[in-house]
């Protein structure tokens, strides 16, 4: 019964009439806020017991032991004794905002026609009114990267706060990178005749690699022209790759693909390379470290690839990379609504690979922020960064502790209500449990 009351308390102030839509975005921070008395998980490995954090105009001004943090004049001080404060979780490589219901085609906006689509942008299709977004926010996801899928070059991703009136004010980083699918070294084939699935060497991949080589060579040449005519939208979109202002995200899982694709991108003149997927990245950690290529690991709540593989390998993978000195983030890949479980991927990684929960936390906060080039703004709770943070009853990496009582994005206090909580309330009422 205790939990019923708790949630009910959270939802005070809601008017019954406004239940059909997502709640309104947070208002900009108008006065300094100090949260005091909590255990602060800074996100860089540091834990401050009985700490306090102060922020103003959306920026963290002080963080440290409660006694050392002074309250600015006019500040709202909130006693959060016994609670835990974490940086907001960052969810990369998702289709959040680009799809709503998987089986309803009309709600899908992430898969464009064509092979080479660097010019299509997730930015403009991102729907801040998706009913999924508040459910992510409620579990601590404060930043999500929306990524186009499909084709050989899928398009450009953008990174968004989990709050905003429209994509324009929700965006954290516009067009942060272009997504490329490296053709897999091994390919699966389903034979309808025999109903068997086989995995063998992919003989058709060189064709795709040659297409990449040509496209990148021509894009680089194009980038050298000041006023190109005719304008080529695809090549135009690739310019930031050579200028180092956008990432090239390469989807690759097999060890061979990882090495081959990184070598390709380096030779093509791409400045910033990120591997997304990386199932076999643990085999090439030395290479990744030497080349300073970070890895976004897709969901680790998956089965091992092979029947003879270590049954826990997916869980252990992030820890293996981290311990080898490779920068690693974990995501749910394109499983947009499941990303609310992102913290639990990190928790599992800690439980099974011998990294501490503070290290594992970085897989979904600091490392993710660094990878998208937003490390100066989000990812840890350090002075000068944005106040995008969570107040939780307990450990947000554990299902029993992930009870978010408050969340701030850019200093604004976010409404944590969502459709599912409203339905919960509605039926508690039905059963007279309220």
């Amino acid at each position: 019964m205790k939990r019923y009351k708790l949630i009910a308390g959270l939802l005070l102030g809601l008017t019954a009439g406004a239940q059909a839509q997502n709640p309104a975005p947070a208002k900009p921070q108008t006065k300094p806020v100090v949260l005091t008395g909590a255990t602060i998980h800074v996100g860089n490995g540091e834990v401050i017991q009985n700490g306090a954090i102060a922020f103003d105009k959306g920026i963290i001004t002080q963080v440290g032991p409660a006694a050392s943090v002074t309250s600015p004049s006019g500040a709202e001080t909130v006693d959060v004794k016994g609670k835990h404060i974490f940086p907001g979780l960052i969810s990369l490589n998702t289709t959040v905002g680009l799809q709503e219901i998987a089986s309803v085609r009309a709600t899908l906006d992430f898969y464009e026609v064509g092979e080479i689509n660097p010019h299509v942008r997730a930015l403009v299709a991102y729907n801040t009114d998706s009913e999924v977004i508040p459910t992510l926010r409620g579990n601590g996801i404060l930043v999500s990267q929306a990524v186009p899928q499909g084709g050989a070059i899928s398009g450009s991703s953008s990174v968004f706060y989990s709050d905003g009136w429209n994509w324009e004010d929700a965006v954290l980083k516009k067009d942060d990178g272009i997504w490329l699918s490296w053709p897999a070294f091994l390919a699966g084939n389903f034979d309808n005749e025999t109903f068997t699935y086989s995995i063998k060497r992919n003989d058709k991949r060189q064709e795709v690699i040659d297409l990449f080589k040509r496209t990148f060579a021509e894009a680089k040449a194009y980038a050298e022209i000041a006023n190109p005519s005719p304008v080529n939208l695809r090549l135009e979109a690739m310019k930031p790759l050579f200028a180092g202002t956008a990432n090239l995200y390469i989807r690759a899982d097999y060890a061979k693909d990882i090495i081959e694709s990184i070598r390709f991108a380096q030779e093509a003149g791409v400045k910033k390379i990120v591997i997304a997927g990386g199932n076999e990245s643990y085999k090439v950690t030395t290479f990744l470290k030497e080349n300073q290529v970070p890895v976004i690991i897709n969901t680790t709540h998956r089965l091992p690839e092979g029947v003879d593989e270590n049954v826990y390998l997916p869980y252990e993978l992030p820890g293996l990379l981290h311990k080898a000195g490779v920068k690693v983030a974990i995501t749910y890949a394109d499983e947009w609504w499941r990303t609310r479980n992102l913290g639990f991927l990190a928790g599992t990684a800690s439980g099974f690979s011998g990294v501490t929960s503070e290290e594992a936390l970085q897989f979904v906060t600091r490392n993710a922020a660094d990878i998208i080039g937003a490390g100066q703004q989000v990812g840890t709770l350090e002075k000068g960064k944005q106040a995008s943070l969570l107040v939780s009853d307990g450990d947000i990496l554990d299902m029993r502790g992930n009870m978010i009582q408050a969340a701030y994005i850019r200093g604004g206090k976010v409404n944590l209500d969502d459709k599912q909580k409203r339905l919960y309330e509605k039926y508690k009422n039905k059963y007279g449990k309220k």
Binding site: R201, D308, M399, Q420
Partner: protein
């Protein structure tokens, strides 16, 4: 051209020209005659006449007018018998398409008064269809076969087979028995009809067919004429051959036979050694192929990783299969079926013998045993008097490496394979061209297969093209490849050499000769290579990398000082002990003393719980959905259990000890579920819990095929309105059916009434009405949940469990009132329209209303962390931790009616236990061990050792394969095959955009 000579079989036929009938009397003398595998007579004579063996023995009197053939040093064997052949049968066209991209064909497209299902073809008569095929006959004769059992390889019931010889005479002569056998398989063949679309559907269809045939014979024929059932009743008494493809389908076939008192003769797949004890227990006689995979090309280490341990091990062990089957004293015949190249038969058979198959067994497997299986042992298979003159003449022991088959006689007619009277010309000759010395000609090899070499100018060795026939020799060679120009010689054997005429490259015609200088009769260069070791790695159970040589044994264990989640009124006990004995929990308490012989496990700081029970699982199955019809209550998941599924081991590693294996959700009434204990390595029957009698139902988008593409708009129902009527219709029929049996059974004398038609679909529904079988119903939205509850109320049956039940929170009161349980996901939603209002508070709301709630997986991945999923009910809705834990243990046990033996830590219950390193609800928790009925099937430390030993065994096998490649043996590209029998609806799931591939969701 047909050279018909002794056409006694065709007395009725008119002749064109003069009669040409002969006695065909031959005597073969001085031979070693292998009469049958147990009887060999040296220096014996065999007399044949009119295509039949008259006498075999040492003292055979040869009548005048007999052609006598001296076979000194030669052997005679009965010619071989092939039991699995499509020789002389029309080609079978496979059904086109597949993959669910075509409009479903619900009814048979076979015209006429036949049965309803296209895959049941008992009316197919190989005797009528048989047309001799001289090319194929020649290929089989070449390797020593004389008699073949042929059948049409099409369909589940394939009609009757015919026994024919491989003569080139007309069919009238070749056919020994036009109705020799009945044939069955698990494949639909050319049938394009939707049903059956799964492994268990095939079993059900065949079972129903047996019942229907019985009904037809007992009076059904008065109601309808059904040529298929008529034919089936005729063929079902014949020796019945079942084509299975692997070890588990052998067992599946045998189980069908057991139900109807039929012992099938079962064609295997060559992997019988992997489950030899169970196969022996089936008492089936096998027909074994000799198909051995090539080594994989594992040169590239990353490339090689795709090949699984079971593939690597099977490559090594496949040649040992026949030997293992023989060792287990399982009767078996051998077949050439499955060989891409029939010429590999002898090579592979000799390999099998090198791996320990006794020659006598091999011979019996090709002669006497197949003959007796087709009840033709009075005609073929041995060389006793009165048998057909079907025999082969060989140079020596049939199984020796250099054996040559000279002649294959069929029904007294000679077919020459290698000239019996070939002169032995081996030796060294001095070659002269145009009377000038021209080098040395060496002839080695065997008399039947001489090998030629010419040496010119003392050092240049040339291998000429050569042909020797009827004492005529042709040689051609290029003296100098750089210069070119071919010298061609033709000549004949004369005295101690050859002489003849030749043509030089410039066209000059010359005389040539080759004079013998040294005769050489030794056999060709002996194989100097060291004999290969026939040692193999161990056979493991199940046959995958993580299998064990011996199964974990039940232990007596004291687990001390643990935190015990009892799920009983004691709640969570701190610093408590558990004693496990004989597979059961013997005691739970504090300060327990170790019984004698007990192993003590320190549980300090650890949490002991009962094992997780997954109420909704699809692991360990070969097939998921029988979607061919809207009701498939007749199918049983127990027919398709796959003990080799690695997910069993993976889930043990996540603390799961039992799984409820459900049919998919492709139709309103699915199939009968199977509950298994996760005894990794055990047999299907050891894993199955037979007393759990449940059935899967389904509602909503899947059963109305909403997301299956536009072609799938044929099957009723396509709306939730139609779903309701499916239930009404089927249950009303089931009520009537039960009543008709009741009235029939009440009539003690059974006079003047035919029994009702046994219907295995309605049997299952009648069990539900009798409260003997429990429903688990896949469900999402409240309207349909409400509908089914009302249907059940009005027809007076009970719904046991709603599964998925993502809107259960909207009807929790109605469920509670009716005692219906809810087995749900912790937090799934948004993947399709009908889960739009799914909420993670569902479990909590149902729980607070008093519904028995389980959290299930429906997913091999989620199942291995169901503890985490249970913990989410703490996060969403504040379920107390002990109650959350029950949702994956005691509550599913209750919903499955096994809570008397599972689901809690209580004395007397099964010792299905997990020791966790932390609270089981913690995200950081992992099992130290998982025990099923007192045996530890997963142990964290042993798992780590296992990973190392897998790596070592893999490397050993890889090195062995690389060795074969270095020797120039053929290899195949690395490739892993997952031989799951996916159902086409599952395939739709893979191809259709964004439709999840899980069978149920």
């Amino acid at each position: 051209m047909t050279l018909a000579v002794y056409c006694h079989a065709q007395e009725t036929f008119p002749r064109n020209g003069a009669y040409d009938e002969r006695t065909g009397r031959y005597a073969f003398t001085n031979a070693t005659i292998v009469v049958d595998p147990k009887t060999t007579i040296e220096n014996a004579t065999m007399l044949i006449e009119d295509g039949v063996i008259r006498e075999t023995g040492k003292q055979v009197k040869i009548p005048a007018g007999t052609v006598t053939v001296d076979l000194k040093g030669k052997f005679i064997y009965a010619s071989l018998i092939e039991l699995d052949s499509d020789y002389g049968m029309p080609e079978v066209r496979r059904a086109q398409g597949g993959g669910g991209r075509q409009t479903p064909q619900l009814e048979s497209n076979k015209k006429g008064a036949f049965g309803w299902n296209q895959a049941i073809q008992p009316e197919t008569d190989a005797g009528t269809l048989f047309t001799p095929d001289s090319k194929k006959a020649g290929d089989l004769r070449k390797i020593g076969f004389g008699t073949v059992l042929v059948h049409s390889h099409d369909g589940i019931v394939r009609g009757n087979g015919a026994l024919v010889t491989l003569t080139d005479e007309p069919a009238n002569k070749a056919m020994l028995n036009s109705k020799a056998s009945a044939h069955f398989s698990f494949g639909k063949g050319s049938s394009s009809q939707t049903y059956p679309s799964s492994g268990m559907g095939v079993v059900a269809l065949l079972r129903q067919n047996y019942y229907d045939a019985d009904w037809y014979a007992k009076g059904g024929n008065k109601k309808e004429t059904n040529l298929s059932l008529e034919a089936f009743n005729q063929i079902k008494v014949l020796p019945s051959f079942f084509e299975a493809s692997d070890k588990y389908s052998i067992l599946r076939a045998d189980k069908i036979g057991d139900e109807f008192g039929i012992q099938y003769i079962i064609r295997g797949g060559g992997d019988e050694y992997q489950r030899i004890q169970e196969i022996k227990a089936s008492k089936a006689t096998l027909v074994l192929p000799l198909v051995f995979p090539d080594a994989y090309d594992v040169t590239d280490p990353w490339d090689a990783e795709v090949v699984t341990m079971s593939q690597l091990k099977h490559w090594e062990l496949a040649p040992r299969n026949a030997s293992e089957v023989a060792k287990a004293e399982i009767p078996f015949a051998l077949t050439t079926a499955g060989l891409r190249n029939k010429a590999d038969f002898w090579k592979n058979l000799r390999t099998a013998i090198e791996y320990g198959l006794p020659k006598e067994r091999a011979l019996a497997a090709l002669t006497t045993l197949p003959a007796s299986l087709v009840k033709a042992d009075s005609k073929v298979g041995s060389l006793k008097s009165g048998m057909l003159a079907n025999f082969i003449i060989t140079s020596g022991d049939l199984f020796s490496k250099d054996n040559v088959i000279y002649e294959n006689w069929i029904q007294g007619k000679k077919f020459v394979l290698t000239a019996l009277d070939a002169p032995d010309i081996r030796g060294t000759y001095s070659l002269s061209l145009n009377n000038q010395p021209a080098g040395k000609l060496q002839i080695t090899g065997s008399p039947e297969k001489p090998e030629y070499k010419i040496t010119v100018q003392d050092s240049i060795k040339i291998t000429p093209k050569a042909m020797l026939a009827n004492a005529l020799l042709t040689l051609s060679y290029q003296q100098d490849k750089k210069v070119g120009g071919t010298t061609r010689l033709t000549g004949w054997l004369s005295g101690n050499g050859f002489s003849g005429e030749g043509v030089l490259p410039d066209g000059t015609v010359i005389p040539w000769s080759a004079a013998l200088t040294e005769k050489n009769t030794t056999v060709a260069a002996a194989d100097t290579a060291k004999p290969k070791s026939k040692e193999t790695g161990p056979i493991v159970y199940p046959f995958v990398g993580y299998g064990n040589e011996t199964l974990p044994a039940k232990e007596t264990v004291l687990i001390k000082n643990a935190t015990i989640w009892t799920n009983e009124k004691d709640g969570i006990l701190q610093n408590a002990d558990v004693i496990v004995q004989n597979g059961k929990i013997a005691k739970v308490g504090k300060g327990l003393a170790a019984p004698s012989g007990a192993r003590t496990i320190d549980g300090t700081g650890k949490h002991l719980t009962s094992g997780i029970i997954d109420e909704h699982s699809h692991i360990a199955l070969f097939s998921i959905n029988e979607g061919g019809q809207s009701s498939s209550a007749e199918v049983r998941m127990s027919d398709v259990i796959n003990p080799d599924d690695i997910n069993i081991y993976r889930q043990l590693a996540g603390g799961v000890t039992a799984s409820h294996l459900l049919h998919g959700s492709a139709n309103s009434i699915g199939g009968q579920s199977a509950m298994i204990k996760l005894k990794w390595g055990a047999s299907q029957s050891e894993m199955l819990i037979p007393q759990v009698k449940t059935i899967k139902f389904a509602l909503g988008e899947n059963v109305k095929q909403s997301n299956w593409g536009d072609v799938q708009r044929v099957r009723f129902p396509q709306t939730r309105m139609g779903v309701e009527q499916i239930y009404f219709d089927h249950f009303l029929r089931a009520k009537e059916y039960a009543a008709s049996w009741k009235s029939y059974n009440a009539n003690a004398k059974k006079t003047n009434i035919a029994p009702p038609r046994r219907d295995i679909e309605l049997d299952a529904l009648a069990e539900i009405l009798a409260n003997e079988r429990f429903i688990t119903c896949h469900s999402y939205v409240q309207s349909e949940i409400n509908m089914l509850m009302h249907v059940a109320d009005s027809l007076k049956f009970r719904i046991n469990t709603f599964t998925h039940i993502l809107e259960g929170y909207k009807l929790a009161d109605g469920m509670q009132k009716r005692g219906i349980g809810g087995s749900t996901f912790a937090d799934w939603w948004a993947y399709k329209m009908e889960v739009k209002e799914a909420i993670p508070y569902n479990a909590a709301l149902m729980y607070h209303e008093g519904v028995t709630v389980a959290i299930n997986s429906d997913d091999a991945e989620m199942a291995r962390r169901l503890n985490q999923e249970a913990a989410k009910t703490v996060e969403y809705g504040g379920v107390p931790e002990e109650e959350a834990w029950k949702m994956v243990t005691l509550n599913p046990a209750k919903l499955l009616h096994v809570d008397d033996r599972m689901g809690s830590v209580k004395a007397g219950k099964d010792a299905d236990l997990v020791l966790w390193n932390a609270s089981p609800l913690s995200v950081y928790a992992r099992p130290d061990f998982t025990m099923v009925e007192g045996a530890i099937y997963f142990d964290r430390k042993k798992d780590e050792e296992k990973q190392k030993s897998i790596a070592v065994e893999r490397e050993r096998l890889i090195q062995k394969m690389l060795g074969e490649k270095a020797e120039g043996k053929p290899t195949q590209k690395p490739e892993a095959t997952k031989p799951h029998m996916w159902h086409c609806e599952d395939v739709v799931g893979i191809h259709a955009e964004h439709v999840d591939i899980h069978a149920g969701k």
